[in-house]
């Protein structure tokens, strides 16, 4: 057994151990903290699978932003576990459920073990057409050209999620503000971090979006970093989240899908198909769309984390 193999096996064992911990742990808060660690470990697995784009997304969104969201929820729901303790199914039912779940796992494991190697792939097709997209990163080419409709619709999912979260507001708070209030006292370590980090974060985010055309990176990952910067500023109470009725916020939220849709429709006129890019302009257009997508992601993620507005705007 080589060193690499040993590392792979220990990584897999670690991932599973932390996953089991998040299921069996008695305390919801501990389980959530376990889940954040789990997310980081899984992004290491993605690196080992040579899927760096996915690793970045998993670390930023799957572990990072989801972690913030779940931790704040767990804090607010402290003590509610005892109330549902009576709803646990009996030991027999739990054993039965575990057995049935194991059947599903066994079936999937059998599929994994019998999977041919090399397996079915579209990589050669993607490689053949990569030049037409003028991009260097095949994952970005799939997201922004070959399967652009899915990406566009997924932006609409993000947009609908924001509406869904907002729609849970009390009627009186509609158009109001979510999240912590702005504080006048700007002392403390978090405030210091929130003043120091964002300039660096913004540079890193722009870098990641820009190189996403040719190397791992792109709108999702860059947008998540920008969102994190904004959330730190809000959590440090240096600034309040904007009121949800504010026009600028609304426009920033729809900019991504709207610009994508507009560029797609332009394809009818200049490139003979919806979501097609004219030759020679593919890369500039894709980067143009990605800039607006990054903006929308950077604004949507904090809105989702902050939850529905809980006070009217002053």
């Amino acid at each position: 057994m080589s060193v690499i193999q040993a590392l792979d096996i220990s990584l897999a064992v670690l991932v599973l151990a932390v996953a089991i911990w998040t299921i069996v742990s008695r305390d919801a808060f501990a389980a959530v903290v376990g889940y954040v660690a789990y997310g980081l470990l899984v992004s290491l697995v993605w690196v080992r699978l040579f899927a760096v784009d996915v690793a970045l997304t998993e670390a930023a969104i799957g572990s990072g932003v989801t972690g913030v969201l779940l931790i704040s929820a767990a804090v607010r729901l402290r003590g509610t576990e005892a109330a549902v303790a009576a709803e646990w199914p009996g030991a027999g039912s739990r054993v039965l459920a575990a057995a049935l779940c194991m059947v599903v796992t066994a079936a999937l494991a059998a599929v994994v073990l019998t999977m041919p190697d090399p397996g079915a792939t579209l990589a050669p097709e993607a490689a053949r057409h990569l030049a037409e997209t003028e991009l260097g990163n095949p994952v970005t080419a799939v997201l922004m050209a070959f399967r652009a409709l899915d990406t566009l619709l997924e932006k609409v999912v993000l947009f609908l999620a924001v509406i869904g979260v907002w729609s849970l507001a009390a009627d009186g708070n509609w158009g109001g503000i979510a999240g912590p209030r702005r504080a006048t006292n700007r002392q403390g370590a978090l405030a210091f971090l929130a003043q120091l980090l964002p300039p660096v974060g913004i540079v890193v985010a722009i870098h990641i979006v820009w190189i996403g055309a040719n190397e791992p990176g792109g709108a999702f990952q860059g947008g998540a970093i920008l969102a994190a910067m904004w959330m730190i500023v809000i959590m440090a109470r240096l600034a309040e989240a904007p009121a949800i009725g504010e026009r600028r916020l609304r426009l920033a939220l729809v900019a991504g899908p709207a610009v994508f849709l507009a560029v797609g429709l332009m394809g009818f006129a200049v490139a003979n198909a919806f979501l097609a890019y004219p030759a020679g302009l593919a890369k500039p257009l894709i980067v143009f769309v990605e800039v607006f997508m990054t903006l929308s992601i950077a604004v949507s993620l904090p809105m989702l984390v902050l939850g529905p507005p809980d006070r009217p705007s002053s």
Partner: protein
């Protein structure tokens, strides 16, 4: 011509984005302005199919499958798209009074109109997509539309219903996604057309199709996986319930049809379609019996949806050519989709009527429905007609579908499914007759003071929908669509046709009368047992076991298929 496929999803989505960006009182105006446009696009696509040779294809971005994604319209898409456009437009008219465009933006109106447009875009994506992963994204779009609609009223029980729905629907999506991944791993494509040429009866196919089908059944709330449906559909505002019950659950059903009839028609085997049909039969009997036991009108309508969804799944065993072991896209499939369209129109109208009755009476307790004929005559009439449409008089779409189902049962020698159809008709008649009896009873006291006034436009919208359902069997729509085989409109005036309406009504009346006489006595043991089973199935552990058990049963059925 083909660009219309793109427009049919882009127009509602663009409308939703625009409405969000502009906000204020423009939201409902933009939504309403989109409706005639969307309706026209749907009709144009349906009309263009025949001249185009049966189907329309659009390659997005000019990339051809398997690398690219294609949109495809065929007769199934066209039928469902036109139905959706009609139902959404009617709901739009209906909802103008409930979700008004005030001078200041309100939470309910803002969310409702944007979600209504989004659900349209999502459904059109489902109906047109030729790609398994695009299905996944559109399924998620449906979830993110449906859940906020359920929670729109903001009461604790609707929030809970929405959360239960969300978690169960997410489980369904993930299972579907897992199957999609396995199919891609095995065959290197997600395109339905390409995949159907490559797919083979291997274990990996069985596992993938099982996961996908069970996930979709959880989203369709097929018995016994309906834990989320009654509370969610009964708790939402009337217009939202209409969207959810009429349309949203049909989206996931449509994907099951695409998967079984168009990806792997030759691999279904005999056992698996029978299992799907048996679940459908269970839904019909169980859902209808529970509808009879409900004390609130909206819950009765919701349980009726549980029952009606069962009919759709009868298409699977009845489409089976047992000798060839193939699912045939013939009369049984047409029947299933016509049933879906008829139910969509009738059920939307029924929820609208229930909502108007609620407004007029200030409550929806069935025991206190007396006098509703005087307080809200039009709403009561719509409800009655919608109920009749579900039983299936000779001019209706339901009758048309039933005739085709019976014909298929006859030609494939599966008499037991016709028995199920008859039982379903009788039970539907029974709960309708029971409601009519309650409604005709004199009002107990003076009309309660909290009653509101129904807007004049609302009954018109509901009535229009009911008429669509009632006349679907008579209209020559099938001459326009490139159906796989020529179907004839059954003669509405024949003795057979009349008899098939009358006898379920008579038996239903007898049943309702029997139940009415027992009203003040202790309920039957069977009724108690039924309610206990219902109660258990609406809890997570039991629903979880049903889901896992079904997964294993379906998996075994597919694995054993030679």
């Amino acid at each position: 011509m083909n660009f219309l496929l793109v427009l049919s999803l882009v127009v509602p989505i663009a409308g939703a984005l625009l409405a969000f960006g502009v906000g204020g009182r423009w939201v409902s105006r933009i939504a309403l302005a989109t409706m005639p446009l969307g309706l026209a696009i749907a009709v144009a696509i349906a009309a263009g199919l025949r001249p185009a040779g049966g189907s329309l294809v659009y390659l997005l971005g000019g990339w051809s499958p398997p690398l690219g994604v294609a949109l495809r319209a065929d007769w199934l898409s066209a039928l469902m798209m036109v139905t959706t456009a009609v139902v959404i437009s009617a709901i739009g008219l209906f909802a103008r009074a409930d979700f008004p465009a005030g001078m200041t933006e309100t939470r309910r109106s803002f969310a409702f109109w944007i979600l209504l447009l989004a659900v349209w875009g999502a459904l059109n994506t489902v109906f047109l997509s030729g790609d398994l992963f695009t299905f996944y994204v559109s399924l998620e779009l449906l979830v993110f539309v449906a859940v906020p609609l359920v929670a729109l009223d903001g009461r604790a029980e609707t929030l809970q219903a929405a959360l239960r729905y969300l978690l169960f629907a997410l489980l369904g999506s993930v299972l579907y996604l897992a199957g999609t991944g396995l199919l891609y791993g095995a065959y290197g494509t997600l395109d339905i057309g390409v995949l159907s040429g490559r797919i083979r009866g291997e274990p990996v196919t069985a596992v993938a199709v099982t996961l996908m089908t069970v996930g979709l059944m959880a989203k369709t709330a097929l018995f016994p996986l309906y834990l989320w449906l009654p509370a969610a559909h009964a708790g939402a505002p009337a217009a939202a319930s209409a969207v959810l019950s009429a349309l949203v659950v049909k989206g996931s059903f449509f994907i099951i049809v695409r998967l079984w009839f168009f990806v792997m028609p030759g691999l279904a085997g005999v056992a698996a379609p029978q299992l799907l049909g048996a679940l459908g039969a269970g839904a019909i009997v169980f859902g209808s019996l529970l509808a009879l036991r409900q004390e609130r009108l909206k819950l009765l309508v919701a349980y009726s949806t549980v029952a009606q969804l069962g009919y759709l799944f009868l298409a699977f065993p009845l489409a089976l050519d047992a000798e060839a072991g193939r699912l045939i896209d013939g009369s049984a499939l047409i029947a299933g989709l016509v049933q879906a369209a008829s139910h969509a129109t009738a059920k939307a109208a029924m929820f609208m009527a229930a909502g108007m009755i609620y407004v007029a009476l200030g409550h929806d307790r069935i025991a206190a429905l007396g006098g509703v004929v005087r307080t809200a005559p039009l709403a009561a009439l719509v409800f009655l007609l919608a109920g009749v449409a579900l039983i299936g008089p000779p001019t209706s779409g339901v009758y048309f579908a039933k005739t085709l189902f019976l014909r298929a049962a006859d030609s494939t020698h599966q008499w037991w499914w016709s028995l199920v159809l008859d039982v379903g008709g009788v039970l539907t008649s029974a709960y309708l007759v029971m409601l009519v009896a309650r409604a005709l009873a004199p009002a107990d006291q003076a009309a309660p003071s909290m009653a509101g006034i129904v807007s004049g436009q609302q009954p018109v919208a509901a009535l229009a929908l009911v008429l669509c359902s009632l006349l679907l069997g008579l209209l020559p729509w099938h001459a326009w669509l490139p159906l796989p085989l020529a179907v004839t409109t059954p003669d509405p005036l024949s003795l057979d046709a009349l008899w098939s309406l009358v006898w379920p009504l008579l038996v239903g009346m007898a049943l309702a009368a029997l139940m009415g006489r027992r009203q003040n006595q202790r309920p039957l043991r069977m009724a108690l047992w039924l309610e206990q089973a219902d109660h258990a199935l609406r809890q997570w552990p039991a629903a979880g076991f049903s889901l896992l058990g079904l997964t294993i049963m379906l998996g075994v059925a597919l694995l054993l298929t030679p």
